[in-house]
Amino acid sequence: MFALSLIAPCFLFILTFAFYPIAYSFFLSLHRIIISLPGLEQPFIWFGNYKELFHDKIALQSLVNTFLFVFTTTFFELLFGLAIALAINKHFRGRGIVRAAVLIPWAIPTVVASQMWRFIFNDTYGLLNYAFFGSDTALYQAWLADPLFAFLAIVAADVWKTSSFAALIILAGLQTIPDELYDAAKIDGATAWQRFVKITLPLVKPALLIALLFRTMDAFRVFDLVFVMTQGGPADSTNVLQFYGYKKIFAEGLMGYGSTISVLVFFVTLLISLLYLKMIGTRLFGERS
């Protein structure tokens, strides 16, 4: 009983702040609720919203966009994260400062970082144009006006911002690898590349997987970058699922339908995390037993 009473607050906390909103979203998603038409009341329509969602081409397109975003960002974030982690794992003068500096992008609030990137990509006074074309303004590109570049722009901003987070987790993994392994390999005549592939990579794999898990779930819920940088445009090329749901609920007042989208996001994230957890779990424990 005493043990129960000790975990009760934590349990209650999760119940109110995690479980209740999800359950309530699900409840809302079974109704037709249109804020600006209170006269319709709020009829219970079973899975009507879900049926509509699966026929909604825009939702489908935004789902595709979201997946593309998740794949490209997590790929580059892990790649750069690994590179950064390897670099700051070495001993060199001023390492402490470099380690701290690497974390700066991650420490900046996403909204602020997005605003900064919006300026960088600006067509008339953006830094990117200046870096490429100098003062030859005739060549200046409107990056965010092109569907492909606008998409790449939000990917770039996300990679810039969260690679250091991946680096942090991978660095933690790197530090658990004992130096003796490398010393032994060196004596056996292994090249730097062989040491990296045969020692570093296998041993840092669990950390990589954890970074992958966090980044995928996080990337799937991308919202602020899109909100600040493109508002889903141009031509819906950066319209991601979360932003579409936001538009439905907050701009159009379609509470029921918007909640359906949130529930979909929830289930996809849940599925991804279960999949990864299973992978990580078997790998971690497989190696131990």
């Binding site: 005493f2 249109i34 804020i35 600006s36 038409l37 209170p38 006269g39 319709l40 825009i58 600006n122 067509d123 008339t124 303004t137 005739a138 200046y140 590109q141 409107a142 965010l144 006006a145 569907p147 493109t230 508002q231 889903g232 445009g233 141009p234 031509a235 819906d236 090329s237 538009k247 907050f250 701009a251 159009e252 007042g253 379609l254």
Partner: protein, 444 residues
């Protein structure tokens, strides 16, 4: 059996310490929260909370609020400043109203919101306060925009409508009159840009608002109407964007404006981004709302002060000039606890005196008819007498409580066809029409 404790007897769970730290925590919290939530306030004043957007001319608004507080010592105005973009402001404001927040007394409404705010029960009906005789003093269009099912929900503060701003000096240099048709505008822009570029100037033909947001709908509506097209048929209410005149107008925008004389970044422009190159002297023609006059003629902000002129928007041959009706209204929240004080503030803001101040110092076009005969205003803005005709004919966007959903569909559609030069306009228009019909079906 001996009773087992979680802690050895000597270190039994430190209830005392726990209690003490809880009390301490409570004290800290109680110190923090009241300090954060309630502001020091004189007990005999009422606070009216005014939700407003980030103004283009903040100094005027400070002056107006100060003036009101001086004349009404018993009322304090607390401004909550939201985002500049109408869409973002809508999301913020409706979020508060949805939650029945008592922290909103007076709020701004874009001209397209009253039906939605009325149907949702957020805006308070003002019929008893805003009498029919009083309504007569205002321009007709904005008043109609505030009426939903025979009740009026807002008082129009200023009117907006699309206008064409142009560089008078450049047009004069090349011997052009202000363009009457869109074709003429494109040709003039071509000549001027070619001529000026030879001299090494960095200049474009046109800037407007073509980002995927509400402003895009306003801009596109003007092209469509001026080719005798419609978004919704005025008689039947059915979507008409797939009609031939509308499709041809959109084709023109894609080929000759966005893909032609406009700046490269025009697809990312809202109002502030679009006026920036104009006041830098890098654009010949600029479509904007009346406030742009004040900004572009302010020597502190603009390199082209004194070189700007305005005229009606062009039209297609066989069509007529149309401007999208815009403008902002003041509404009072149904959940307000200080409705009387709120109404006093609304009355003050929409009075002749303040509207005149806003016209003179912020370039906002008044909604009171009488001010279009005011010598001081006409002395400063001779174009206002001509603009009154534009305002009288300014065309409203579809009036529906579901307008935001209709608008989102239109934004998506317009953005797609002007961004992708290979998209099939007619086919996309039919798809968008079907979506709009589905939305309209909900309200029928």
């Amino acid at each position: 059996m001996q009773k087992r404790y979680f802690f050895p007897k000597s270190q039994r769970f430190p209830y005392g310490a726990l209690a003490r730290s809880l009390v301490l925590l409570g004290l800290i919290l109680s110190l923090l929260f009241p300090a954060g939530c309630t502001r020091e306030k004189k007990s005999d004043t009422t606070t009216v909370r005014f939700v407003t957007w980030k103004p283009n001319q903040p100094a005027v608004w400070d002056e107006i609020v100060e003036l009101f507080e001086k004349e009404h010592p018993d009322i304090t105005i607390e401004r909550e400043v939201g985002p500049h973009s109408s869409t973002a402001f809508h999301d913020l404001l409706t979020q508060k109203l949805k939650n029945k927040s008592p922290d909103v007394d007076v709020f701004f409404m874009d001209v397209i919101w009253p039906p939605e705010f009325a149907a949702a029960g957020w805006a308070m009906p003002l019929n008893e306060l805003f009498s029919a005789e009083e309504q007569e003093q205002f321009l007709h269009g904005p008043v109609i925009a505030n009426i939903y099912k025979d009740k009026i929900y807002g008082v129009p503060l200023f009117i907006d409508s699309g206008m064409l701003f142009y560089r008078k000096d450049l047009l004069d240099r090349y011997g052009f009159n202000p363009p009457k048709t869109w074709d003429e505008m494109v040709k003039q822009a071509g000549t001027i840009v070619a001529g000026e570029s030879k001299k090494g100037a960095d200049i474009y033909g046109f800037s407007g608002q073509f980002k995927q947001y509400e402003g895009l709908v306003c801009n596109m509506l003007e092209y469509i109407l001026s080719n005798n097209g419609h978004i919704l048929n005025p008689d039947t209410g059915n979507p008409e964007i797939a009609g031939d005149p509308a499709v041809r107008a959109m084709q023109f925008v894609r080929d000759n404006i966005v893909g032609g004389i406009a700046t490269g970044g025009v697809l990312t422009y809202e109002e502030p981004e679009s006026i920036a190159p104009f006041i830098e002297g890098k654009v010949v023609f600029h479509r904007n709302w009346p406030y742009a006059w004040e900004v572009s003629n302010n020597p502190e902000r603009s390199k082209i002060a004194g070189k700007v002129a305005i005229t009606q928007l062009p039209h297609f041959s066989g069509g007529k000039s149309y401007a999208t009706l815009g403008g902002w209204q003041l509404g009072i929240s149904n959940y307000s606890r200080n409705k009387d004080a709120a109404w006093k503030f609304v009355q003050f803001l929409t009075s002749e005196r303040i509207q005149k101040l806003l016209a003179l110092n912020a370039g906002l076009a008044p909604t009171r008819k009488a001010l279009y005969g005011d010598a001081e205003i006409l002395g400063r803005y001779p174009q206002f007498s001509e603009m009154k005709d534009v305002f009288l004919t300014a065309y409203p966007r579809p009036r529906s409580p579901l307008y935001p959903a209709i608008s989102n569909t239109l934004q998506r559609f317009f953005s797609k066809i002007i961004t992708d030069p290979h998209s099939d306009i007619a086919r996309e228009a039919k798809a968008a029409s079907r979506e709009i019909e589905k939305i309209l079906a909900l309200t029928r």
